[in-house]
Symmetry: C2
Subunit: 534 residues, 2 copies
């Protein structure tokens, strides 16, 4: 058994079930999506029609399992998937596909083959309800079809949240009907840095693109068909230079800005006027139309306070409202949007920097700055999604040595991702219960193509999936299963990082990075979080 993530419970049996051209498939009507997915996926690769009928594969509804839980029983005579909810049935079907030859993951037949699965009893359910991956489509736009492909890849690894980082200084990727300049102006930049920004080299090549509202509806529906919820992020009030370039009245400066062409934290943030709040309320109105999921991320990360500390209107706001400082002004500003979301039955998600000025009620914290932030948020009664950057930021390099493309941050090895435990130490059981789960993050400053995205994401995202689904900790066992799983990735056309290091064409000698040691990263983290008030 080489499935990834490893199922919670697994008992090998004797013999195998062999599919024939006439093997029937039947499903409870409530679980029919799993059957439709299985038919649609397996037919091109295997030629198996799986016609309606009994006596072959059955997807049966049972009472009492969790929404994502399933059982799979394969004998020499039949395959039975049991689930209470459609997501559980879908994950059972995903496991069944992994029990077949890796060629089942292709989009076309590769020769005559006996399609069989080993006899087995699987009883499986996830450790965490939030098993996510952030994709930054702002720094480098990911065309719609590539994003749809990533949704398939997430689902194949039993991940269920796609956090879509749609807006940033370097690009605004979401059509907003009321404010067309957000994409007309904000969806492209003049050029991009080559390698780390410390080298001050630029490519002179414009970069851009955006999703139309119909694209988003399609993406959301496609994801929902695969039990992936799309969590949109409109990052406020920092990381907004693309929006300010489109509508200069949103900023603090008299002179217009370009869409940012540098990486790193920019000084340009939104002003705190009523008009700016109204503008982004309009934006969120359209976001809520498009994204039916419960959670909406409003950012709140990396907001330099320089402009507010120097801005007369910002200083007046602070005085009028009796606030202590610009940190609290940020919380005041953000509360408009978190309250707005709560009033509409949504749950606001925000990055942990928002703790610096006090967390608004009802905010779920996306804790990226290590376990301390996650623990603080959970202790203060907030839900937490953890995404510690030293362990789950997949833009960080995968190994030491000069071969990795655009090395930044510390080394986030496959082993470290596999060993990742979402729950920080020292929490009570109640506090631990507030940790919804975790997400990996694919920030794309240095990931300028879908091919490089594959390289940075895999195989680490497979290890991450195991950490959040099964919490299995046997790395050697994982590596053994990974050897087969890589054949599945090959079949899916995923250009993962080979264990021996990058293919020559995956290297970036043209784009030097800025690698750091883990001690440097930890030091940075300690400094950032030293002043957290609770």
């Amino acid at each position: 058994m080489t499935t990834i993530p490893l199922p919670a419970g697994l008992v090998p049996g004797e013999g195998q079930f062999t599919f024939t051209s006439g093997t029937p498939l039947t499903a409870d009507p409530a679980l029919s999506r799993a059957a439709a997915w299985l038919r649609g996926t397996l037919l091109p690769a295997t030629g198996l029609q799986l016609p309606e009928g009994t006596g072959g594969v059955e997807i049966r509804r049972v009472e009492g399992l969790g929404p994502e839980e399933y059982r799979l029983t394969a004998t020499a005579d039949s395959v039975l998937i049991e689930a209470t909810g459609p997501a559980g049935a879908f994950y059972g079907a995903q496991t069944l596909r992994q029990l077949l030859d890796p060629a089942a993951f292709r989009a076309g037949r590769t020769g005559e083959r006996v399609w069989s699965v080993p006899a087995v009893r699987v009883a499986d359910a996830p450790r965490y309800g939030w098993r996510g991956c952030l994709i930054d489509v702002a720094r480098h736009f990911l065309p719609k079809n590539d994003l749809l492909r990533y949704i398939d890849l997430l689902a194949a690894h039993k991940l269920n949240v796609l956090h879509l980082h749609l807006t940033d200084d370097q690009g605004w990727r979401l059509e907003i009907r009321k404010y067309p300049r957000l994409t007309e102006v904000g969806a492209w930049r003049r050029e991009s840095p080559v390698g780390s920004i410390v080298h001050r080299t630029f490519d002179g090549r414009p970069h851009g693109g955006y999703y139309t509202q119909d694209d988003i509806r399609e993406i959301v529906a496609y994801a929902a068909d695969r039990f992936v919820t799309v969590v949109p992020e409109v990052d406020l009030p920092g990381h907004t230079q693309a929006a300010i370039a489109a509508y200069p009245e949103l900023g603090n400066l008299a002179t217009p800005l370009d869409v940012r062409t540098e990486w790193g934290v920019g000084q340009n943030v939104l002003n705190v006027s009523d008009e700016t709040i109204a503008f982004f309320t309009d934006v969120l109105d359209e976001v809520l139309e498009l994204f039916p999921g419960e959670y909406v991320c409003v950012g709140g990360d990396e907001v330099p306070k320089t402009q507010w500390n120097e801005s007369v209107p910002a200083k007046e706001r602070i005085r009028e409202l009796g606030l202590r400082d610009a940190d609290e002004l940020q919380t005041w500003f953000m509360r408009h949007f978190t309250d707005y979301l709560l009033a509409r039955g949504r749950r606001p998600l925000a990055w942990d920097e928002l703790m610096e000025g006090g967390l608004p009620e009802g905010v779920t914290v996306a804790a990226w700055r290590g376990g301390k932030c996650a623990a603080l948020a959970a202790r203060s009664g907030h839900e937490v999604v953890v995404s510690p950057f030293a362990e789950t930021y997949l833009d960080f390099r995968q190994a030491e040595g000069g071969g990795e493309p655009v090395p930044i941050g510390s080394v986030t090895s496959l082993n470290a991702v596999h060993a990742f435990d979402p729950v920080p130490g020292g929490l009570t059981e109640e506090e631990r219960g507030r940790v919804l789960g975790a997400q990996a993050a694919l920030w794309t400053e240095h990931i300028d193509s879908p091919r490089l995205l594959d390289y940075m994401a895999f195989p680490r995202l497979a290890a991450f999936a195991e950490a959040v689904w099964s919490g299995e900790r046997d790395f050697e066992d994982f590596l053994g299963r990974l050897a087969v799983h890589e054949k599945r990735l090959d079949a899916l056309g995923v250009e993962y990082r080979p264990a021996a290091g990058p293919h020559p064409w995956q290297r970036r000698p043209d784009a030097p990075g800025n690698p750091r040691s883990r001690a440097e990263i930890d030091g940075k983290l300690a400094a950032w979080t030293a002043n957290l008030r609770f």
Copy 2:
């Protein structure tokens, strides 16, 4: 009716056929692939299940139509597709999809919608049996999934040949079991030029990638499911520097070569030794295993004779064999492979330069150097596939002015592609019958990403499809239909060239081109073909 390509015959009716969630679909077993494709394509976008049953959509087998011919009759009560062969039924299904709202081209639902098609009678068949597109995956590798997507795009435009240019000086993209260094060494180059090679600027970024044999099997099967035949090209004896870099003994020099990093015609060609002939016979053995289609392209284009004219072994061959010159030596060399293919029931395809030393028996000519070459080949009794570079090379710029990305060649406007007529003037009816059809060509020196490939391919490939399928010449009418067709392309995520010119992010100020006038191109052509002997 806004279908592209325009059907040969079309009579609008009264009213429309509206699909409901229970609309049944039935198909003659011999035509079931069209039904499976329709179900699989429409379900995610529309939610329509199209269950088995009578009284809704029927795909009926009739006698006497051509293999790609179909009739489609939609009334208020039913939709009937009639065909004799599965390809015809498939094209009927493709037309049916175009009769629906463009949202039917998406991979997910975009809201509640009434799905209906206008009442109509269509009687349709293609003008040419060879309706192709060459994609050069050697200069820039196109990852497997992107290639599969292109196969869908070809099929959506009723194109039926994918000419896969797999090997060239700058990269070898096909795994050959017997000669692993072809991909270990030959599948990547150190860097690529930025813009036209005349500017002598390089990017310092390695580029590479290749298809495994299973990838190729998958691609071929995926294409066959959509009635697209993949014609592989292994380009001989020029355009072989990547192979020579991997196996220096294939070349004429004492010193080893790198995989070429410059564009343009290189001097390094294969030597004419028995060992080299044996090597490529081995290569073709594996090619024939992988590609079941009738036609196999063995290149024969742009072979500088400098090295042969200076090489002692080549000069000895010429003398031994009593040949006139190096042109005839090339024909002698190529005849090994064309005879090899003919002996195995295949049809060799070769570029028209092979005429310079005399065309071997049984060669089908890929005529890229204008109508003169096509006419000469047809007159000499050879089959011809035309692909005149000034009209069908889609790497040439789409408009005058500085905005087009990496402008090269002359302007190949949408209008010119739409007006393209495959058959050169002055042929007898018998000679005209030897023109199998035509293909557009996406050479990728300056197309370094799937996004730019979209830009260069579309909408011109839609115009090309109309030229070879329907031969419709009313450009204004085409433009009217294109306005709707662009919404289909939007739904498919195709980043086509907007009529008003490139989006800012589709420009390449970093990569200056080398634009020529049509007069310069025509002059070049005349000089090249002045000495053709027949």
